[in-house]
Structure formats: structure tokens, C-alpha cells
């Protein structure tokens, strides 16, 4: 929990010595609260106050970074319980589990296919984040070989699931130079695991059956010099994981409880009686950090990745659609040309409606900085000049022969100006609401 300027002021020497180049300690405190200066700029701060300030300014959930041969995943640094309060910052990493007792050739093929998986969602490239390689055989050589095979087949980051220190060592040797996540330390093996993770400088998962034991373990690991930890609270299915993950998020964000201020790892496909995709969806919405899935299935992965994208969209910055002229139902040069803005929801509403009419059409999506029609118009981002400019830039003249363009009904006021901007074009005024596009075209467009 960040401190306010006044709270920081109370911890400062309050001498107004100006050594920090600010006129008063209060002015410096305000700058510090706004993160515009650093604490070290005050040469007179006491050690005790420095420690308090440093811990207060640390994020409530530690940021954990993984790196593969090429590509990285960052999870943590979350500050809120609900996305509308600010935003969720770091999308949970989705990892596919593979085991070293699988047939090596089949495994290589699976890794290649999953690695290549990529799907375009409103211009955003969605893909799997990496692989969780499990030492299921219990044999160090076999694990090493499998980790090497996965690295050969994918540059994405890895999670190494190795319950025994010897296996962990073997896996890390094969992944030398990378930054995988090591799974997992528990009450029995934590000392050995801690030393291995520390030597390799990789983050370590802490596994415990309840939060009391978990907090004890993270404390011990921190005392041993480990800072990058991830929690596996063994949270089971829908209900238990909802309760545990919610509690962990509240402890970190609201209670500022440091011993459990780390991202969570979960295995939604390995829980009895749970539907892997629905439980994965729950973990995406409700506080999952690293999510290990068991099945690679594009028809499931695609919607899950879209969900993750949606939940982690900054509510202040709506998803935008690439401006351009979009084809709907295979239009010809006789088909109507309609205009809207590049706010994704506006675009979807209009495009879906036109598609639903079964009539072919062109949709000019103007660059209105991601605002809806009325908002953009009010903000001066969707005016005749902008529409004319985009119509020309995206080649409206080459797409249609009729030289007619249909404006959203809400901005009928623009038609005069648009006539001036687009000489020789007929400006038509369409309906105000998307739902009326069908009847409008039926009445107004004979083609």
C-alpha cells in the first residue's frame, strides 16, 4: 500500500535543510509520494525510516519475471481486487504441461504445434506463454533430455516441475542461461531447493497445504536470501481456489501482508471433477498468476486467451480496432459504404449487425482514438475532416463506384461539412442505432 505524502513526511527528519534541493521536507515528501524523486536524495533519513519507506513503496505482489531463449513472461505487481478500481496489470502466464515420461517424438511434435499456435484478436497476437516440463519419470537424465528437447523446439519461457533437488538441478543444467520458474519447495526439501534456486538465480515456487505453513516457508526462504517466490497453495477446484486466491489477493493488496505477496501458480486441469477450461477461466478472472494447462486444444485456448485479454484490458483504455475499410459479406463496388469509429465495441456492434443482415457492405472504420461515435464527435476526434482523410487514405474511391457514403445518424450534423471535404460524394445519413441498419438498408439501398 503506497504511503501518502503526509505519511512520508512524518518519517522524514523535518528539518527543511534543503539538501534534497526542495525548499521543505513536506515538498520532498509530496514528490516522493508521486514517485518523482528517490528516497536516497535525502541524505539525513534514518535507517529505520528508510526501511519503512522502502517496504511501503514495494509492490504488494512481487513482480516475477521468466525468460526463455527468446520471449519473457512477467506476472505480479497487481494492486487492486477489481479491474474497475484501476486495472489488472500483468496477464497470467498460460503454460502447457509436458512430461518427461511421454514419448519424446510425440512430445516434440506437441511442443512444436503449441509453440507455433498464434491467433489474431483485433490486431493483437495471442499465444501460449510457455511450457511446464515435469520430471514425471523421476530420472534426472530423462528430465534433462526432455528439457533440452523442449528448449530446442520452443524459445518460450519454461516452468520446471521437479519435486526432488537432484531433478531440479538436472533440469536447470539443461536450461542454463535461461530464467525458468522452479517448482517447488515444500516443508521437507526447502533448504536444498532454496540453494539450487539461488545458485541458478531463478524464481522458486513454494508449495504448502495451508496459508499458515505457506507464510512460515516464505519467511524462511526470504531469510535464506530468496526474493523471487511464487505460491502454490494447493488450492484444488472451483470453490477452494476461489476462496484461497481471493484471500491471498486481499492479504497482499488490502492488508499489505508481505509474507504472501507473491503471484500464484495453479493447475486447473489437474483437479478432480473440474472442467479445465471453466476453472482456467475462473483463475484468469480471479487472481491466478501462472496457470498450467494439461491440454493443447486451439478451440479452447483461443477463447481462453481472448478472455485473458479482455479481463486484463485497462478499463481506461478501450480496445481499439485497426482503422481501415473492412469488407462484410463479400461486397462489390455497388455495395453501400458506411462509416463508424474504431472503438472495438462500436465496431463489433456495427459489423455484426451488417453481417447479420446478410447484405454485403463496406465499413470505413475511422481513427477516432478508440472512442464511440458520440464521445469521439464531442471530443472533436470524429469530424468531417477525419472521415474524409481516412476515406481517402484507405482508398474508398477504388472500393465503390457509387460515391455515396453513409454517416451514423448521431452525427448527421457532419453531413454538410463532409460534402465540402469530399467533393462529388453524396452524403447519406444512416440510423442512430446499429440495430436499425437492416431496415435502413432495405429501405434506402437498392443494389
Amino acid at each position: 500500500m503506497a504511503l501518502s505524502g503526509l505519511e512520508i513526511y512524518k518519517l522524514l527528519p523535518q528539518t527543511n535543510c534543503k539538501d534534497c534541493d526542495f525548499p521543505t521536507c513536506l515538498a520532498f515528501a509530496m514528490k516522493l509520494a508521486a514517485k518523482q524523486v528517490e528516497l536516497k536524495d535525502c541524505p539525513h533519513i534514518s535507517d529505520e525510516a528508510a526501511e519503512k519507506l522502502a517496504s511501503a513503496s514495494a509492490p504488494p505482489i512481487r513482480l516475477i519475471k521468466l525468460g526463455g531463449v527468446d520471449g519473457k513472461v512477467e506476472v505480479g505487481n497487481e494492486t487492486v481486487l477489481y479491474r474497475h478500481e484501476k486495472t489488472f496489470f500483468h496477464r497470467p502466464g498460460l503454460f502447457l504441461r509436458v512430461r518427461d515420461d511421454e514419448d519424446l517424438e510425440a512430445l516434440k511434435a506437441k511442443v512444436a504445434e503449441a509453440d507455433a499456435f498464434s491467433v489474431d484478436y483485433v490486431g493483437i497476437d495471442l499465444y501460449l506463454d510457455g511450457f511446464a516440463v515435469e520430471a514425471a519419470s523421476g530420472n534426472a537424465d530423462s528430465f534433462k533430455k526432455t528439457v533440452a528437447a523442449v528448449i530446442a523446439g520452443s524459445k518460450k519461457p519454461l516452468i520446471l516441475i521437479a519435486p526432488e533437488p537432484d531433478l531440479a538441478k538436472a533440469g536447470l543444467e539443461a536450461a542454463e542461461g535461461l530464467r525458468p520458474l522452479l517448482y517447488a519447495a515444500n516443508a521437507e526439501n526447502w533448504e536444498a531447493m532454496a540453494d539450487i534456486a539461488k545458485n541458478a538465480d531463478v524464481p522458486l515456487v513454494v508449495h504448502a497445504e495451508n496459508l499458515d505453513d505457506m507464510a512460515d516457508l516464505t519467511k524462511k526462504l526470504q531469510d535464506r536470501g530468496l526474493e523471487d517466490l511464487v505460491l502454490d497453495p494447493a488450492a484444488g477446484g472451483y470453490l477452494q481456489s476461489l476462496h484461497t486466491f481471493t484471500t491471498l489477493r486481499r492479504l497482499a493488496v488490502k492488508s499489505n501482508f508481505r509474507p504472501l505477496g507473491f503471484p500464484i501458480i495453479s493447475f486447473p486441469g489437474a483437479q478432480d471433477g473440474a472442467d479445465e477450461s471453466l476453472l482456467t477461466a475462473q483463475h484468469i478472472a480471479k487472481y491466478g498468476g501462472f496457470i498450467v494447462i494439461e491440454k493443447f486444444e486451439p478451440a479452447v485456448l483461443y477463447p481462453l486467451l481472448v478472455l485473458r485479454q479482455n479481463i486484463y484490458t485497462d478499463p481506461q483504455k478501450p480496445i481499439q480496432v485497426q482503422p481501415g475499410i473492412y469488407e462484410i459479406n463479400n461486397p462489390t463496388d455497388e455495395s453501400p459504404l458506411m462509416v463508424t469509429t474504431n472503438f472495438s465495441i462500436t465496431y463489433f456492434a456495427i459489423a455484426n449487425e451488417i453481417e447479420g443482415t446478410g447484405r454485403p457492405g463496406w465499413l470505413l472504420v475511422a481513427d477516432a482514438e478508440g472512442m464511440s461515435v458520440l464521445t469521439a464527435w464531442a471530443a472533436g476526434k470524429f469530424d468531417a475532416e477525419r472521415i474524409a482523410k481516412d476515406a481517402k487514405a484507405f482508398g474508398a474511391e477504388d472500393k465503390v463506384s457509387h460515391k455515396k457514403i453513409i454517416l451514423p445518424g448521431h452525427v448527421s450534423v457532419l453531413s454538410g461539412e463532409l460534402e465540402e471535404e469530399l467533393p462529388g460524394w453524396e452524403i447519406m445519413v444512416g440510423p442512430r442505432e446499429a440495430v436499425d441498419i437492416g431496415s435502413y438498408l432495405k429501405a434506402m439501398w437498392q443494389a
Partner: protein, 322 residues
């Protein structure tokens, strides 16, 4: 180390709303449906009570729709030829409520009529003992023309009448008042608009126990995050004691999910979208399950498999003894 589990103290409670009336209460339903009543966020049993489970409705039409996904047509098959058969099939699929939507036109392209609407509602009421919701085709004048006679036909059954919107709610609320029904109050993904319409509707004299609030959602990938967050904000406001946000929430992930390209179209789409049937079902299930997490009390679905999956999830989330 003993970790203290943080618990929120909520002062508010979601209103309980009961749809349907049995013979005892002047109707003919064999069961009723009560939703709402929560005193905490979804499934956080450790800090409040959740007296009623989120309910699942199946949408049926007064006739076989022209524009539904072939996957849905194949699933319901023959049953779609008659609203009564469709309602029965939905009951067998495990629906808690039948959500009947009247079409703009009849199968031969004629305008739908009050007589036809009455006939269909009577058939559905006779075919199933489940509680019923009835909505018009979504054009204000036609909605009013059809919903008034439907309200009369179903007098005393305490059905849920849709859909009251800011520009058109008076006639429907009056019909609900006159015939002892409930209303669905729908607003476009906005907390304040939601509250405002509930106020306007209750100002007409209908008790708050007869209003279900529909904050509207988008499908997965098509604006679900707006609906999701508006629902979370409405529910937080309700628990903090803001009276006009305390209506149980209805959302329609079925209609939203089945109108997007991912579920409607099987050809000419990217290979990475995967198997069409699976993808379409995932689209509806993930849309619905996410809205269960954000506080939905009643969800309208279209595919029976989605209903099964979401129901199993809700069962698990309510299994407090586990």
C-alpha cells in the same frame, strides 16, 4: 505463523425475487424460482450467505428462428418446430426457467399478432411446469403490442416480462402491475443507468421484489469486460447498501455468444480458431461462467451442453461442505 483471513463486512443484501406461482399462489407452475438474497460476493461463503443458487434459463422462440447457428438447430432438432416441444426439451435439459422470445414475424413472413403470442404462451404454460419469462422481439411498438396480451393470458402466473428499457417501459410495467407479473429492467452496461431505470420502474408502483435487473453484457471478445465490471460494481454497491442496485441480475450470454462469428461460422475462418463445434460451445460457456463469477443471478443460455457445464461449476461453487 497464523495468517488472519481478511473478511469484508457488508451492510447490504441483494433482494430476493421469486418468479412463477404455484396453485397455492394463484398460478399453475409446479415449481417457482427464487433468486438473489446474497449478503456477500459470489460464492464467498466465509463472509456472508448465498441463499439461492444462480439459476440457468434456456431461451426458446415462438417459432424456429431463421438466423441461429446450425449447431443449435441440430441440437434442438424437431423440438424447435413447436414452442411446447422446445419448452419440454429445455426442461429436460435441466433449465430452471423457460425464457421465451417472441419473433417479429411468423414463419411465413407475416407480422406477429397478439393472438399468436397468446396462443404460444398458453401452449408453453401447458407444456411445462417451470416458471416462464416472455420477451418481445425488441422493437418498442411491437413489444408492447405483444407483451400486453401475453401478460393477460398468463395472469397470476408471476411470469417475468421483458424487456423494459429506458425508452419503453411504461406499458410493460403497467401490464405487469395489472396481472401480477415481474419485469426485466435492461440498460446498456452502465451502473447509473441501471439504477435510474429501476427507480423509474418502481416509481410506477411495482414492488422492488418484482424487478430483475439486466445490466447487459457483451460476448467474450466482444465487450464482456464492460458487462463484467459493471456487474461487479453494481454488486459491490448493493452490498454496500445502495438500495436501487440491490436487484438480482439477469444476463443473456446465450444470445450474445451465439451471434458472434466464432460460434456462427465454421468455414473461411483462421485454422487457429480450432474445431467449430468445440469453439462455439466454449464461447457460450466461458461467457456464461465469467458472468457467474461477476455476480449473475439468472443466466439465459441457448445450448443444453453449456447449461450442463455451467450447472456443474455452480454446484461445485456451492458445495460448502466440501
Amino acid at each position: 505463523m497464523t495468517v488472519e483471513i481478511p473478511k469484508e463486512k457488508w451492510s447490504g443484501q441483494v433482494r430476493e425475487v421469486t418468479i412463477g406461482a404455484t396453485a397455492e399462489d394463484g398460478g399453475t407452475r409446479t415449481q417457482t424460482l427464487t433468486i438473489g438474497g446474497e449478503t456477500t460476493l459470489p460464492f464467498l461463503h466465509f463472509e456472508g450467505s448465498i441463499p439461492h443458487r444462480p439459476a440457468l434459463a434456456i431461451e426458446i422462440r415462438d417459432r424456429k428462428p431463421d438466423d441461429w447457428s446450425p449447431i443449435l438447430l441440430e441440437t434442438w432438432g424437431e423440438a424447435m418446430e413447436s414452442p411446447a416441444a422446445w419448452a419440454k426439451a429445455a426442461e429436460e435439459a435441466g433449465a430452471d426457467l423457460i425464457y421465451l422470445v417472441l419473433s417479429l414475424t411468423t414463419a411465413d413472413g407475416e407480422e406477429n399478432t397478439p393472438e399468436n403470442a397468446r396462443r404460444v404462451v398458453r401452449e408453453v404454460l401447458d407444456a411445462t411446469g417451470l416458471p416462464l419469462a416472455v420477451a418481445g422481439p425488441g422493437q418498442a411498438d411491437v413489444d408492447n403490442e405483444l407483451i400486453v396480451p401475453v401478460a393477460e393470458e398468463a395472469e397470476g402466473e408471476r411470469i417475468l416480462l421483458g424487456i423494459c428499457e429506458e425508452g419503453n417501459y411504461r406499458t410493460i410495467v403497467a401490464a405487469a402491475l395489472a396481472n401480477n407479473h415481474l419485469v426485466q429492467s435492461k440498460t446498456p452496461m452502465d451502473v447509473n443507468l441501471s439504477k435510474q431505470l429501476v427507480i423509474l420502474i418502481s416509481d410506477m408502483g411495482i414492488p422492488l421484489e418484482r424487478i430483475v435487473m439486466d445490466p447487459t453484457t457483451g460476448a467474450l471478445g466482444y465487450g464482456i469486460e464492460y458487462g463484467y465490471s459493471v456487474m461487479e460494481r453494481l454488486r459491490l454497491a448493493a452490498l454496500q447498501g445502495d438500495s436501487m442496485t440491490q436487484q438480482p441480475m439477469l444476463v443473456d450470454p446465450g444470445a450474445e455468444a451465439w451471434k458472434v462469428k466464432e460460434s456462427k461460422v465454421g468455414e473461411g475462418v483462421p485454422e487457429s480458431w480450432g474445431d467449430w463445434q468445440n469453439r462455439a460451445l466454449e464461447w457460450e460457456a466461458l461467457t456464461a461462467s465469467s458472468l457467474v463469477q461477476s455476480g449473475a443471478d439468472l443466466l439465459v443460455l441457448r445450448h443444453p451442453d453449456t447449461l450442463k457445464r455451467v450447472k456443474a461449476m455452480i454446484d461445485a461453487l456451492l458445495a460448502t461442505t466440501a
